[in-house]
């Protein structure tokens, strides 16, 4: 089951920003956080603003949780779980992601 699909190069990601990938017909927001080689993936769709924009939010941490703030109305989504901190009923899907060498991969 654990098949991984190449998405892009790690070096394509600027530190502390996100990009959007097309993966199995779904839009996935991928974030690179901090100085380590650490990446996260959640859905790109903001269920509150109803638009595909989460990859373009600012990343940071709130009370220890790594989050992205929606660029539309600023709700926070947890990067590890996709949980929406303000409106848990509007949480989004999280994806399994890893870095192999210089390649970022999503689980197929």
């Amino acid at each position: 089951m654990s098949e991984w699909k190449d998405i892009c190069k790690f070096s394509d990601l600027a530190a502390n920003t996100g990009v959007c990938a097309l993966h199995n017909q779904e839009q996935v927001a991928i974030f690179r956080v901090g100085k380590e080689q650490k990446v996260y993936a959640i859905s790109n769709y903001d269920p509150i603003g109803k638009a595909n924009v989460l990859s373009r939010g600012i990343v940071g941490d709130i009370k220890g949780k790594l989050v992205v703030a929606s660029p539309l109305y600023k709700q926070h989504f947890c990067l590890e779980t996709g949980e929406c901190l303000e409106e848990p009923e509007n949480s989004v899907k999280a994806y399994a992601i890893r870095v192999e060498g210089d390649v970022v991969q999503l689980q197929a």
Partner: protein, 852 residues
Amino acid sequence: MSKQKIIVVGNGMVGHKFIENMIEHPDYDQYEVVTFSEEPRLAYDRVQLSYYFAGKTVDELMLTSPDYYDENGVRFIVSDKVVNIDHANKKVVTASGREESYDKLILATGSYPFVPPIPGKDQEHCLVYRTIEDLEGMTASAKVSKVGVVVGGGLLGLEAANALKNLGLETHVVEFAPRLMAVQLDEGGGQLLRSKIEALGVSVHTEKNTTEIVAGETCRYRMNFADGSHIETDVILFSAGIRPQDELARQFDIEIGPRGGIVIDNNCLTSAKDVYAIGECALWDGKIYGLVAPGYNMAKVAVSHITGGDLAFEGADMSTKLKLLGVDVASIGDAQARTPGCLSYTYSDGHAGVYKRLVVSADNKKVIGAVLVGDVEAYGNLLQMMLGDIEIPGSPEALILPSIDGAAPALGVDALPDSAQICSCHDVTKGDIFEAVKGGCTDLSGIKSCTKAVTGCGGCAAMTTQVMNAALTEMGVEVDDSLCEHFSYTRQEIFDIIRVKGIKSFDELLESHGQGHGCEICKPAIGSMLATHWNEYVLDDKHIGLQDTNDIFLANMQRDGTYSVVPRIAGGEITPEQLIVLGEVGRDFGLYTKITGGQRIDFFGAQLHELPPIWERLVEAGFETGHAYGKSLRTVKSCVGSTWCRYGMLDSVSMAVNLEMRYKGLRSPHKLKMAVSGCTRECAEAQGKDVGVIATDKGWNLYLCGNGGMKPRHADLFAQDLDDETLIKYIDRFFMFYCRTADKLQRTSVWMDNLEGGIEYLHEVIVEDKLGICEELEADMARVIDTYECEWKKTLNSPERLKRFAHFINSDLTDDNLAYVEMRGQAKGRIATDEERQKLAKGVEIETVELV
């Protein structure tokens, strides 16, 4: 039950206050209110009357409006004087013959200026200072005059002298008593005030008793004095005191004091049944109160009595603090030390121009009066100690001595009782402020709007802030103004750290002064500060993660995740060729096209991958980015000005273009808008902008800290008749001072409302260079201007950066969640609703909308 009808004669400050209090009363629906005014308009702020000369308009001085009265069912009749009271039949008659019956009658007729019976006093340019019409008369007289004399060196006289001086006249003050402000000041204070005022170029003549006004030789008139001396002048302004307007009451058997004034009791009732008198026409305990606060208090008491409450008028404190011709003066309680057995302490510093006198009780324990000239910082403290009958902590002289070690022996606001009055203009107590804070007003501008404190004379600002902070502390709200959980510093402190330590990146700052990873609050705020100070490219590797989505893609994100594009059109000026290019870009990329509120053109519906080709076309045609996406200077709006307009005084378009080109790209705590109008008709609406510039026949007037938006605020007039160079110098300093000291996302209007000392303090910093930082501010601005580059041009030259402008990192496909509906001839007339998008997904055609 039929309503009780109340007639209010006189719609001045106090008459209006009475009506306002009635309207706010829970039983208001049982009353009907009618008011008459002899003046041609409803109540205005007489206390601020002199600001008329500083550019305040009549509209801005108004305390109420016909709409407000209409909405609340108050009938009003202006320009009609009540001339008769038929008390037996309970009705009033006006000059125009109108009759109106009443159940309760309120006399709020105010006072009139006293003009001493000097032969020759009734000539054309002999004026008084009380109404807007008087001020219009003064302006007209000043135009044909060179010299002006004010008769009377009291509080109002000195205000009038200031007005004459500002109208450009050589100004003299003639006073009968041996010193200025004889009522409020003691001799030492009067002397110092005199020397300060003379230093400003106003001549003061004391102990002069005018005997006649005759034709002059060098001027229009000559005033002869009892001591044989004389003075020549073109205008004479009488300010020799006020007399209660009790004419109406005199015609009936309503009791009048021996020297005038309608006698009232503790309920503000006159000797006639159902007739009340309030404000400056009323005589209570043998006293007329010539200040507005006691009048407001009477209004409250009268409302209470009519509606069955039990408030009583118990006299008022006459302490005052004000700025006369730029000199701070305050007088508290028994300033003249007339209380038997009292002791006084005096401190005077001839060099700094400070005089203070403290009067204490015979036992040396209580403050009973004070005079402060030149340094009035102790006013709030001393006044509260007197009103609260609080025992002096330590030795009395410490209260007026300058604190050598910086630790002023301030009386903590904790020591005050809840009933202590903090704002006398609006009768706001310590308890009121505490309640407002508990109700959620946690900054000064909030306190201002919910309690009205600080919105009258403004003298209580410092004290109000102290009380507010005490309330916050008591509630356990740490007055925590740190930026966010990652930085326990205020924005201002962080700005200083960046400047002083030369910090150039967020990571550097986070490491040395913060914790965690940062968030969407601190990142853009710090990104903005770094940009204000160093002005590096915002998409640089070390800055890109700090930018809001708008800045990251140098465009404004719309609700569906697409972007709008706004090129700079400085001053709103554009060549036909450029306009054609814009049209072509809009057409070729199929963008919804609209003219913005800032005199430029906005294209909507561009997807990420379309932004670079759009900008390539724009940059090629000579356009630069418009920074519509940034917290930065937006536009400088302009009217067409003197180059075309019949009324234009100066070339407003050139100035607007210059200003926009100078400040473009300046990153700031919040967006900045400017405008330039070519004359006082103000077609560019400059007074609603952060920086507004209006041409006069003598130069530019500069207005600061205005705002449209959610909470509109008129800009304050900051400086007048400036030349181009000074104008720009002041704006440089203003912008940089704001950028350094404002809170994150704080517009200049809120910043100003929270700035201790307000516009006067700002004047001291920017014009008088009180903090000695003006040179630095200008240098900082010069660096920003020198390092400007168009962010779009730079981005187009960087293939690495351009890679980011695609919806997917691993595919050339685009977002499939976008759909638009045609409207008024534009294909992308609007974003489709969710429902419509679902229909579209199923292949159902959407009806187009055509509105004409």
